[in-house]
């Protein structure tokens, strides 16, 4: 779908093919945090895989039990049915026990055609975490050298990092300015989520085009904050628009929690580590609950959100453990919330919509 004044968003598959034609490699990257700049420095295009939603996941059943979340199960099913054929390598960050299991099952049993490169994100917040992550990124770099059969110069790597930071700065501006943009919630997210797969220059072009769109006269809406891992199935965002609400800020692992700050060091690996570790609080990186609560309350206060919708994928431990404390803390701060659990393959649900609708009526 083309929106006036904006470049069209191609499909992930087409982007991958185009990159191959330019002679580059494509990496399929699983959730959540990873060093985009490092991959791009090798001429590798990272294309993120969040599910995808709405597929037949039965092929995962021979490897994964039903109590593994649908993000992980869908990824495996997608791989097994050839969906990731276009990828030359697979990056599997360690965000939780299920992704840990998937990485292990891929490496030890499934043996996909592509090399599988795991990446461990530290769960502590001290200086040791930054030192470890820099080393872990160096180890990833060594693996990438083997796969890509080349090594970028340090100066090129640093430039790649600076370019990525500039793109992230544009992304942050988009998030800050979202209410002035003449876009529905659904379209806003569809566009910003293009960060997950567009080549850097294409994303920068898109972001700049979005930022110069004529500001919209905002219709009255109920402002909410959306929290969770990924806004899939995206029908929830359509429902938000149709019910006269608007997501004014988010605490989504794939969006708001990946607004990476600039690093400080001039040493590339240290800088990438600082940037990754400086992101907003995230339970998959071991953030304390109070930090998350402070962040959510702060976000709600600066954006005027009147309630929080926790949109979680069923079986997601990092999210479900924190939920009661967060909801109770938010309640004490005068912010009502609801929690919905979804499966990525759920057809649009009347029940889920009614819940959202009732909540919006409650906070209107």
């Amino acid at each position: 779908m083309i929106l006036d004044g904006l470049p069209s968003i191609p499909r992930r598959l087409d982007v991958a093919r185009a990159h191959h034609e330019r002679g580059g490699l494509v990496a399929a990257v699983l959730p959540i945090h990873y060093p985009r700049a490092l991959l791009r420095a090798f001429g590798i295009l990272p294309i993120e895989v969040w599910g995808p939603p709405n597929i037949d996941a039965t092929r995962a059943a021979s490897h994964l039990q039903p109590y593994v979340c649908s993000i992980v199960r869908n990824t495996l099913a997608f791989l097994e049915s050839g969906g990731l054929q276009v990828a030359d390598l697979l990056i599997v960050p360690h965000a939780c026990d299920s992704l840990q299991g998937l990485g292990s099952v891929l490496l030890d049993f499934v043996h996909p055609r592509q090399p599988v490169l795991p990446l461990y994100l530290p769960r502590t917040q001290g200086a040791e975490a930054a030192v470890f992550l820099a080393e872990e990124l160096r180890a990833l770099h060594r693996r990438l050298v083997e796969v890509a059969r080349r090594a970028p110069l340090e100066a090129d790597l640093l430039q790649s990092i600076l370019d990525e930071e500039a793109a992230d700065a544009l992304l942050r501006r988009l998030f800050e300015r979202r209410l002035t943009l003449p876009l529905t919630t659904f379209d806003f997210y569809r566009l910003v989520r293009a960060r997950e797969f567009l080549p850097l220059s294409a994303f920068v072009e898109l972001a700049q085009a979005m930022l110069v769109l004529p500001p919209a006269e905002r219709r009255p809406h109920t402002p909410i904050l959306l929290s969770g891992i990924v806004p899939e199935p995206m029908e929830i965002l359509r429902a938000v628009d149709e019910l006269g609400a608007s997501v004014v800020a988010d605490d989504l692992a794939c969006c708001g929690r990946r607004l990476y700050p600039e690093g400080m060091s001039r040493e590339p690996f240290a800088r990438m580590a600082e940037s990754l570790l400086g992101a907003p609080p995230d339970p998959t990186r071991g953030s304390p609950i109070q930090d998350r609560l402070d962040h959510l309350i702060g976000l709600a206060q600066t954006t005027g959100a009147r309630g929080v919708v926790f949109h979680d994928v069923k079986f997601c431990e990092p999210e479900l453990f924190d939920l009661p404390s967060l909801r109770s803390g938010l309640r004490d701060a005068g912010l009502p919330s609801i929690a919905v659990e979804v499966d990525l393959n759920d057809p649009p649900s009347h029940q889920a919509r009614t819940r959202l609708e009732a909540f919006l009526e409650m906070i209107a």
Binding site: G101, S104, R123, F132, D322
Partner: protein, 442 residues
């Protein structure tokens, strides 16, 4: 505390309580010797040393009742480098072990409902739900759980403990020391991971010293390490005694007697306990006593036990001459014993605590199973697909297929949960086990 209080606490926890427990133990031992009270056609009675193990654990919880008054208390995850805390004189509580006690006492579901009512999803680990339910309601079968002054968690068993302990830290407002152990996907832990763990251990010292109110005595740490290693080595020897036919003890005996090596590792009493257990096991071998009468099939158990059905599962299998002779779970507390180097405590702790089986890939777990199949002459494998334990359970489907295809060892997946009896379907499990045994008989 008044002088009277001090006296009362001393009397209860050091004199009367332990004395009462000792009397109870003598009673249990006598009953065991007399063979009375044990009714099973297929299973050997519990080891005599079980009474002593029970006393040790009970004494630990008895001390726990009063621990807040005179010691610093730490709540610890089962895979954490506890030697550091023992050397600082902490009284250690293992919420996982407490959870297992609740499971075995059949009160876990009730406690879990308390947590569920507070908003915790039923899809979360049943140990955590049991523990949080106990925290919110104040109910526990051990009398009274001492509140922690410190929370000490290590991610080498799962990430769930990280989220669980963050919740505890949030509720109890006490410091949480986290030892983050990067997952080992390949053959060895990369050096930078070992370095990371070692640095975290060292960085934790000021915090734990502050809570303990004293400085770390390296001599005491080394001694604790020595005792830990000795206990683990004895435990390993005990398990390895099962490699002969018939197996003198069952894995169920191991489950019920593992508490000291998990939660009292580093104490002299634990070493003595396992030395006594080893002696008794040797005695059984000499006397030709087997865990299961007419042992026909030798089985390997993978994953956590089903705490609320231990005896039932053992009986179901024993009736068909099937003995559980080895388990990857109990093996975990012995297999790393040699990595412990008491003279290099931080360096060796960093390695030892990176390498538990749960921090290793699914392929490594399969290789471990294969090795144990060889070592223990295993005929079949029971894979407990524990809904609560993803690090253990993910990979079992492939492990089962490969064991059958590549090793010609039949393997059965049993879907249940280690602590939540609502996830245990009696009829289904019984049917599957029966069908599995039939496969073995062919």
């Amino acid at each position: 505390m008044t002088a009277l209080d001090v006296l009362r606490v001393y009397a209860s926890s050091r004199l009367i309580g332990p004395a009462a427990l000792r009397v109870q133990r003598w009673g249990n031992e006598w009953r065991a010797r007399a063979g009375s009270g044990w009714a099973s056609d297929y299973l050997a009675p519990p080891l005599r040393v079980a009474a002593r193990g029970k006393e040790m654990v009970a004494r630990h919880w008895l001390e726990g009742r009063y621990a807040n008054r005179n010691r610093k208390v730490a709540w610890v995850t089962s895979g954490a480098p506890v030697e550091l805390l023992h050397a600082l004189g902490f009284f250690t509580v293992y919420p996982e072990n407490h959870g297992a006690i609740c499971g075995a006492a059949r009160v876990a579901v009730d406690l879990s409902c308390e947590a569920e009512n507070a908003g915790y999803s039923r899809d979360l680990c049943s140990y955590a739900r049991t523990d949080l339910g106990s925290l919110f309601s104040g109910r526990t079968p051990v009398g009274r759980l001492p509140k922690p002054d410190l929370l000490f968690a290590c991610t080498n068993i799962c990430q769930t403990v990280l989220f669980w302990y963050r919740v505890l830290a949030h509720h109890l407002r006490v410091p949480l020391v986290l030892i983050d152990t990067p997952f080992i996907y390949f053959e060895t832990a990369p050096e930078h991971a070992v370095e990371y763990v070692r640095r975290q251990l060292e960085a934790s010292i000021p915090s734990v010293e502050r809570v303990a109110g004293r400085s770390l005595d390296t001599g005491r740490l080394k001694e604790t390490g020595r005792l830990s290693r000795e206990a683990s080595q004895l435990w390993m020897e005990i398990m390895e005694r099962n490699d002969g036919r018939p197996a003198p003890i069952s894995v169920v005996d191991q489950f019920t007697l593992m508490a000291p090596v998990v939660e009292m590792r580093g104490e002299p009493a634990t070493v003595n306990f396992y030395a006594a257990m080893l002696k008794e096991v040797d005695g059984r071998i000499a006397a030709g006593v087997s865990a299961v009468q007419h042992e026909k099939h030798r089985l390997l158990w993978d994953n956590l036990p089903i705490w609320y059905r231990l005896r039932d599962v053992a009986e179901m299998l024993g009736a068909e001459g099937a003995a559980l002779v080895a388990s990857t779970y109990t093996n975990a507390w012995g297999e790393l014993a040699d990595l412990i180097d008491p003279d290099q405590p931080f360096e060796s702790m960093a390695r030892t605590y990176l390498y538990p089986i749960l921090n290793r890939g699914a392929g490594h777990k399969l290789a471990t199973m294969r090795r144990m199949i060889e070592q223990y002459s295993i005929d079949g494998v029971l894979l407990h697909s524990d809904r609560s334990c993803k690090p253990y359970s993910i990979g079992q489907l492939d492990q089962r297929d490969r064991l059958a295809r590549e090793s010609s060892v039949p393997a059965l997946l049993l879907e249940a949960d280690h602590n939540d009896s609502r996830c245990y379907a009696e009829g289904q499990i019984a049917n599957r086990v029966a069908a599995f045994i039939e496969t073995l008989e062919r």
